[in-house]
Amino acid sequence: MRPALSVVAFTLLSGAGLGALVLVAFADLAGRAGLGAPIAPAVLARTGAVALALTAAGFASSSLHLANPRNAWRSLARWRTSWLSREALCAIAFVPGAALYVAMLFDDAVAAARVPLALAVVALAWLTLYCTSMIYASLKPIRQWHTRHVPAAYLLLGHASGGVLFAGTLAAYGDVPPAWTLGAALLLLAAAFVKLDYYAYLASDAKRLTLEEAIGVPHGVAPAPRRPPPPGSVMRARLLDAGHSRGTFLTHEFGYAVSPRARTLLRAMFWVGGLLVPALWLAFGVREWAGGVAALAACLAGLGAERWLFFAEARHTVRLYHGEPTT
């Protein structure tokens, strides 16, 4: 699939923003419940404001990939079947709720009323993240997306990058409580495990389809062999002509291929920048807020590489009809 920068930016920014807002709400709830040292609402409010700005920027970016944006308002219509419609509904409900919540954090006067709102922010953030991931995970023609790894990785990476943002803002205004440092590090670790398993799934043959299956060789679209074929041999097909002399919408949208070299580089960028650098900062330098800014930048760059690869490595079944042997 062709990686659209607007969608990469959308999933990256809103993922981190929603993850951070979930952590802000949890920190607020934990403080009110008397679990650990409470974090000052003013600090939480600043973190929440940054996270909300990232989320809103992400949502705005998502509309940039529409070819006919004046009909975007209609996207709420089919929430019964469409994950994109559900995501749009959740996002529209989330932004004003989260804005009100962050405003209440800035003005600490009505602390008790904050609790139900904090719970609503958490629920809506999770729903939004899940709906976004299911837009991709529900598409059966793309085996790289049609897997439970996709929602798991998207939710965990959103929370992990949100955790780095959260810890970075806490470090800028004081100390990061050790429990939150550990929590952010565990989120990075969990995301790493899911992505390891995801890349093992990509390398396997699970759900892989072939050109022969796509054009119906198993149904008899094959010449009768004059001699019995050797046991275990497979009837192969190849594209002679795609029927067009230049590119089409299909080759433009689905034909994108990432070179093995770029893939290796971007995966390294994800592992090192996206996960290792923030983990090292959390482990050894969490008092340095400047280091936190660098760790957050590395994390977002690494996760940007991961999001870009998520599209670039996805191989739609349309590619089979254009002559690729497998998806």
Binding site: N68, A77, K140, G220, L239, F249, L250, E253, V318
Partner: protein
């Protein structure tokens, strides 16, 4: 009702007449026309087509066969493109035809991603998704003579490789063809229950070879005069 096409891979010669007839009819159609072209007379021509024909070699030479596979919307019973559409622009009609309401589409491309067959193409000029309409504006048009109430691609096919009808009716011409010839759907493992069927190529009868003796009996006389005499005999029918 499940209106759809049955495409005979045995007789299809890959001439693209169906695709050009489709482009001609639907380019002027009110349902989703025009079908925009980009740089049509330049170095990099491209544009929107509802029907594309690809050519494959199946098997390894000399035991190989050329197969031409025309592909347009398969009007799936469980159409994922309709399921994922957030605006309700994509819909499936009672007669089985899947259409896009051009007034509602926001051009998000999600339906094109959900379709395993590449049946949908975004028109960059209008910013909306376009697809095969099964010529919905002519198949029910009672002003046309009955034999013309068929999709443009079916009418244009010079080898009668394309058939149109109701695949819900077991007595229909298309259903009988599917039953007789072992018609199949594309990528049915994905579970979208495509309505359009493809008929696999017929297997050729083996050539009978009686051995060297029968070939020797037709041996030609050695001299030019003898060949002339043989020709004369053949011409006189003796």
């Amino acid at each position: 009702m499940k209106l759809g096409l049955v495409i005979d891979l045995d007789t299809c010669v890959g001439c693209h007449a169906c695709a050009t007839a489709c482009k001609q009819w639907n380019g002027a159609s009110a349902i989703s026309g025009p079908l925009s072209d980009y740089d049509p007379y330049g170095d990099d021509p491209s544009g929107v087509w509802f029907n594309r024909i690809r050519h494959y070699e199946v098997g390894a030479y000399p035991e190989s066969k050329t197969v031409n596979v025309p592909m347009s919307c398969l009007h799936c019973e469980d159409a994922a493109c309709v399921t994922v559409c957030p605006t309700g622009a994509s819909y499936k009609r009672e007669d089985g035809i899947v259409l896009v309401d051009q007034e509602r589409c926001m051009g998000c491309n999600l339906c094109a991603w959900a379709c395993p067959y590449g049946a949908r193409e975004l028109d960059a000029a209008s910013g909306t998704m376009k697809k095969c309409t099964l010529c919905a504006d002519r198949v029910h048009d009672e002003r046309l003579p009955p034999e013309d109430r068929q999709p443009a691609c079916v009418l244009a096919c010079p080898t009668h490789a394309r058939h149109y009808g109701d695949l819900d009716d077991p007595q229909s011409h298309v259903s009988v063809l599917v039953a007789e010839r072992g018609g199949f759907g594309l990528l049915e493992s994905l579970g979208y229950r495509p309505v359009n069927r493809y008929l696999p190529p017929r297997q050729p009868r083996p050539v009978v070879d009686d051995g060297p003796a029968s070939r020797a009996s037709a041996a030609e006389p050695a001299s030019a005069l003898g060949r002339l005499a043989a020709l004369a005999r053949a011409a006189l029918g003796r």
